[in-house]
Amino acid sequence: MSTANHIAIEHLVKRFQEKAVVNDLSLEIEQNELFVLVGPSGCGKTTTLRLLAGLEPVTSGRILFGDQLVNEVRPRDRNIAMVFQDYAIFPHLNVFENIAYGLRSRHAPREQIRERVPEAAKMFRIDHLLKRKPRQLSGGERQRVALARSVVRDANIYLFDEPLANLDAQLRHQAREDILLLHRAKGKPGVYVTHDQSEAMALGDRIGVMNDGQIQQIGTGTELYDFPRSQFVAFFIGTPSINLFEVEVQASGDDLTLVHPAFALELPPELSEKARPYTGKRINLGIRPENLHTPRGVDFPVNAGNTLKGVVNVIEPATTGCTVYLSTLEEEPEDFVATFKSRLPASYIGKEVPLAVNMRKIHLFEQESGHALLYN
């Protein structure tokens, strides 16, 4: 079943006193896979990483590297390489010695060090900095020293703990390429922790969304985005976030309508079956920003049953088009967001506009459990 480099986590639990910070977590990471654990602060993702590394003892559950149970194995014997948020490079050593550190402490032969270190430095474009000390480097350069130090090792698994969080936003985009460079060079499993879902989407082969110590859903970025199984995942993945409205399901004959103080949307027949049990009840409607359109540009018929009105508050330019922040027309306005393919002129700010909703792309969630109704 498992190759030497397949990582398995089975029913992992970590308690700090009373609180289960990691609460029955199971997952498998394939060889060659960069698996991203993403979730809000306090969800247990960093603790999970530290358990994988052996930096914390497990409360219960199993961690396997290939066929080997590693629960009781010390971090240094697990043969992991870790890249930290604050780089953790030694201030008293120069760049060369920092990169060489892991090899030296494992008594690697001199020739290997002399060969691998400059190679690793070149890969991350810091080969001209080998004699410098960390205090003479920028944040981005220090991060690349940390990456070079990892690439020089032959570890079983590469762990990344929010490595880009301390970098300026602009550098973060460039540094993502370096992370991929490291991961592809080694061909080993990688586990990457971040709170930033766009980073998760950009880097992960598969993504595990965590909340309150548990995995909510695992899948590729596209799977999580198109088929979120819970309201939490639907809201967490995707930026700008999905718009959520509380609606009441009302029936008139066979047709179902989602009723809200500011709008009433007709549910297409193919989606009615799953929503029918909730007739007369309240559920949550999720509409992604890109499924709100200017009525002119759409390829489906627009009528009162699939239109939503709002007042434009902010127009933000995006790479292609713009993001428009609106609020509904009711006594207590609710904020929502639409993304357009072209740039809406600033003259629309403060104006009331109609938006066509692509009703075939909506999401519905049960209120108490947060479960998605339309696919599960």
């Binding site: 300026d168 390429e177 922040y325």
Partner: protein, 373 residues
Amino acid sequence: MTSVQLRQVVKEYDSLDQVTLTGYKNPPALRTVSLTIENGETLCIVGPSGCGKSTLLKVVAGLEFPQSGQVFYDDFDMTEIKPQDRGVGMVFQDYALYPAMKGKGNLAYYFQQHQHSQQEMEERVRQTSVLMGVDFDLLLGRAPDTLSGGEKQRVAIARCIVRDPLVFLMDEPIVNLDAKRREQTRLEIKKLLRKFHITTIYVTHDQQEAVFMGDRLAVMRDGVIEQVGTFDDLYYTPANLFVATFIGTPQINLLPAEITAGHINMAGQSWDLPETLAGALVPGKGRVGVRAENWLLSETAGVPLLVSHIERIPTERAAFLHGTVSGTSVVAVAPLEQPEVKSVLITPDWERVLFFSEKGEEVIYTPGPPEFF
């Protein structure tokens, strides 16, 4: 409501104790900076870490005094005036709360310090909580350390509003929040700034945040303001290469090119020089600047982009192809459904490209904002 003007401000930190063994001194934090922030506008100052943006904010506040130059609020010279007498409100990245007090106490602190009546204080607190929106009432009864990061930040902002400041100064107020919280909090801040029409200076290193928050942006580097303008000004008509690469995500792609009579040669291929460019460009070497959304993808014509990975962004209905063209990093926008490929052929939309000098930062030509009609 006030306008703020910096006139020729120079700020150097004491250099004596900055001399290292190699004799290197810290350069000036602000090098002859002049800037006007209009009454009621939000101006975002953006730039990489260390560019001097926080120092500029401190000079406006009076937390730092310049070596030369002046700070004016409307027609009043504030250069020598202490911060507490300038009527500024400040929100920092570490929230600046006083932990011993409950939420309401934090607002009242200002009045206690300034000896206003209890009644005045209550009224102001009440008004502010209404302005901040319904749930702020909940915040008033709670001690600061039970509040989340985003909530603490809103209390900090409310404290500023209560003071009815002439000028609102914010220094990376949301940098410490989770990405998701940041999204939510920045919209709240933007709505508040709009509502109160307070002259605001907002400092951040994140250009996407600056673009969202600001009516105008000032891009800084190494103590100098490189350009001031709206997003459109900076994006379509950058003053130099630094501004062109700093504003816009993904970063603009730069490729060496050569103009000959009637042709552009780039990445081993040649195109006819369009009319619009023929008049603006002289023969010679330079660099072409192509924004990710200005590449045209094709099956048959163009230069090969060797794709290293595809980043799909459903909310933008687009995919970003990351790769290289003749060894240079390039990012090109493709449709969201773009299939996984090892390479695609891309051509610049020559009507939309910028031209830069072969070396250095000079902008030779920009097409300006696009025509829609």
